[in-house]
């Protein structure tokens, strides 16, 4: 039987991988993938904790809601990346540093 802790470990590992990707990758798509990984870690957590709410299935519902939202944000993020590419001819976030002082 798979215990609750195993879910949480997998979720934490996923989250750390996602975080590492977000911080270290040079490609905006990969960063986006990292973000998706972190989101999925959160979703995994929601599903895992959903066993304590067997009647309303609030956890399952919220996970579905988060997945839909993630798809929406990914679409927006890809659009942004496309625009960034058009403007800067690169999607390396280190080179798009117009935000600095």
């Amino acid at each position: 039987m798979i215990s609750m802790t195993d879910f949480l470990i997998v979720s934490a590992a996923l989250f750390c991988i996602g975080l590492y990707m977000v911080v270290s990758k040079n490609n905006a798509i990969q960063i986006l993938i990292g973000i998706e990984l972190m989101l999925n870690a959160a979703v995994l957590n929601l599903v895992a904790f959903g066993k304590f709410d067997r009647f309303t299935n609030g956890g399952q519902m919220f996970a579905l809601f988060a997945i839909v939202l993630a798809a929406a944000t990914t679409a927006v993020a890809l659009a942004i990346i496309l625009n960034v590419y058009r403007r800067y001819k690169t999607i390396d976030p280190n080179k798009v540093d117009k935000l600095r002082d």
Partner: protein, 674 residues
């Protein structure tokens, strides 16, 4: 204007004023003229002095032996004392006015040619006109302060003209010497004027020394009176080159010869005698005796020096000193009229002799330039035999010399023998010591005959001595143009008796003596009046013959060129050397010490102060630069570092932001966990 003597016609005064101011006008015009060698300047000056001469003749005709004219106007007021300035025309000033302009005119004409090749022709005539103005003003002013002002101005213009060729160092030395010597005299005169003003509250010459002379009416304390007289004497001695202040005059010959003729022979040096004539009543008999002795000594000393000099102009300069000594002596013995008479006659013949010297020097200069010789054109040892080349000059020179010696029929005879006669009469009433004065004066006269005969013989007789050493000289000499001849002829005519007296042998009948006598009975009282002129003439002729033999025929022995007396004369009685050792050198030493003190002690102290301040300020600058500025820089550096540190967070890299956010969140998390 107010007239002290109501006089209907003051045109004469205007004439005199115009005569005085015309040269000043010429001076101003010359200053404004363009160019250094503007030929117009010579004619402006000459025309001015010509008109001045004509006006002076008119003034003279209006004044001589008539009521004196005295016109004055209020000059300024100090407290209650009113000072008047004006013109005093009496016999003396009218005579001097005429004399100065009459001598200045030929000199101007002569100068137009003599200075013609000088590049500073215009400056020369400006100075000359300025001198004429000062001198003419000097003789007509009625006020001692104005007199002093013009006295200074003639001294100043003389200074300018002695140093006319100021690129020659000798000329600069000479004009400095003349200036300093005259300064001593000027201080004396100023002291005398101030003493007189203090006691009599007036500087008016008429009130002080006129008919009711203040100096006779009220006696001042003997001490102050003596000081005033010494002051006047110093002024006279400096201006008229009397011992002990005579040494500037021979050196003053560095100026142009025409200047020497006008200023240092005829007019300015006579200003001292003129001053004596103006202030004559203030001297008492003891002071007059001293004056006579000094005059006599100067006359004798200068005559002995003139015997051995070789510089043509220097001989004439010493001759001038000697003749001025005669005039001063004449003043001392009471021969007031004779003194001024001698002044007038001397002015003409000495001016003539100087103009001749100028021509001779010019001709020698031409020989020198034509043949590239290295000789002094003024040295009479090179000259000789010029009488055939320069006939007019030769005749004029002989006339001038005979007048200087005092041969009958010349003017010099009348004036000089008059002085000698009166000197013998004067010494009669005194002890035997005073007998030396006329005897030395007579001796000086004989020496005059010798040295001037030597001069004439060496210059005009025999053969040109230069030819002995340089046998192939190119020589073309001549008297020069009319600008040279006319002045010589004019002055030569003035050397004869008719201008001064109808009777050629009796000086008492001269009109100048008649016009200037001061209650002295001019009768032929005693044997002197006959014996002295005759004796002096015979001796003079003998001396001249002796000199002629000695230098032309070489019959008699030649004087040894060694020995004490020769050296004494040749070195001008060692007076210059004495002054150099006793006065100049100590003063130079003193000023060198002062200069040393100034340079090393005072300047040293100031330098020390300077260096101290410099070091202090360097320290201050160091503190300012490295400590105060350093602090500020440190502060800014810190702020900059902090700023840079803070900037690092704003790198614009999203991942960096994210990472820092993660670190902070983790840090907070860890912080709250424990």
């Amino acid at each position: 204007m107010n007239l002290t003597h109501p006089y209907e016609d003051i045109t004469t005064v205007y004439y005199a004023l115009a005569a005085v101011l015309l040269p000043l006008f010429a001076f101003l015009v010359n200053v404004c003229l363009p160019g250094k060698r503007n030929k117009i300047s010579g004619w402006v000056s000459t025309l001015a002095i010509l008109i001045s001469t004509v006006l002076s003749v008119l003034v003279f005709a209006g004044i001589w032996n008539r009521e004196p004219l005295h016109v004055q106007t209020l000059w300024f007021t100090i407290g209650a004392t009113k000072l008047y300035a004006g013109i005093l025309l009496n016999n003396l000033s009218a005579l001097m006015l005429l004399l100065v302009s009459l001598v200045a005119l030929p000199v101007h004409i002569y100068s137009t040619a003599y200075m013609g090749h000088d590049e500073n022709y215009k400056r020369y005539f400006s100075y000359l006109s300025f001198f004429c103005f000062s001198m003419l003003a000097l003789v007509v002013v009625d006020n001692m302060f104005l007199f002093y002002a013009f006295w200074e101005l003639v001294g100043f213009s003389s200074y300018l003209l002695i140093g006319f060729w100021f690129t020659k160092s000798k000329a600069v030395q000479a004009n400095k010497k003349a200036f300093i010597m005259n300064r001593i005299g000027d201080v004396g005169l100023l002291v005398a004027i101030i003493i007189l003003f203090t006691y009599y509250h007036t500087a008016d010459i008429v009130q002080l020394f006129g008919d009711n002379a203040a100096v006779k009416a009220t006696q001042i304390s003997a001490l102050w009176q003596s000081i005033a007289c010494v002051g006047i004497f110093l002024g006279v001695a400096a201006k008229s080159a009397q011992f002990p202040l005579h040494t500037w005059l021979p050196d003053a010959m560095e100026g142009p010869t025409s200047v020497s003729a006008l200023i240092h022979a005829a007019t300015m040096v006579a200003a001292g005698v003129f001053l004596l004539g103006r202030v004559y009543p203030m001297f008492n008999s003891a002071e007059l005796d001293i004056l006579a002795i000094i005059g006599c000594f100067t006359a004798f000393m200068a005559a002995t020096i003139a015997l051995t000099q070789n510089d043509l102009k220097r001989i004439l300069a010493y001759s001038t000193i000697s003749q001025l000594g005669f005039m001063i002596m004449a003043m001392g013995i009471g021969a007031y009229a004779s003194s001024l008479f001698h002044l007038a006659t001397h002015a003409f013949f000495k001016c003539l002799l100087f103009l001749i010297a100028g021509i001779v020097i010019h001709q020698m200069q031409h020989i020198k330039d034509d043949n590239n010789l290295d000789i002094d054109p003024q040295d009479i040892q090179h000259m000789g035999g010029l009488r055939k080349k320069l006939p007019v000059t030769f005749i004029a020179a002989v006339i001038g010399s005979l007048a200087l010696i005092g041969i009958p029929l010349t003017s010099g005879y009348l004036s000089k023998d008059g002085i000698l006669v009166q000197a013998f009469e004067w010494s009669d009433s005194k002890s035997w010591v005073y007998r030396l004065v006329p005897i030395f004066a007579l001796l000086a006269g004989l020496l005059t005959a010798f040295y001037i005969a030597r001069l004439i013989v060496k210059v005009f007789f025999g053969e040109l001595r230069l030819l002995k050493h340089h046998p192939h000289l190119k020589i073309h000499l001549g008297d020069g143009g009319w600008q040279y001849r006319i002045p010589l002829i004019l002055l030569a005519i003035c050397c004869f008796f008719p201008l001064f007296s109808i009777n050629p042998v009796i000086y008492e009948q001269s009109w100048i003596v008649g016009g200037l006598k001061q209650n002295i009975i001019l009768d032929r009282l005693d044997i002197y009046h006959t014996i002295i002129p005759v004796g002096a003439t015979i001796l003079n002729v003998f001396v001249m013959y002796f000199a002629y033999n000695m230098y032309v025929k070489r019959k008699t022995f030649a004087f040894p060129q060694t020995g004490f007396l020769y050296n004494l004369s040749y070195h001008e009685w060692y007076i210059d050397k004495f002054y150099n050792t006793v006065i100049v050198k100590p003063i130079m030493a003193l000023s060198k010490t002062a200069s040393w003190f100034d340079k090393y002690v005072i300047d040293g102290f100031i330098n020390l102060l300077k260096n101290t301040v410099l070091i202090l300020s360097k320290i201050a600058a160091f503190i300012d630069k490295y400590i105060i500025d350093g602090l500020l820089h440190l502060l800014t550096a810190i702020v900059q570092q902090i700023g840079n540190f803070a900037r690092n967070f704003q790198s614009g890299k999203i991942q960096y932001y994210l990472f820092s956010m993660l670190v902070i969140v983790l840090a907070l998390f860890i912080y709250f966990l424990f």
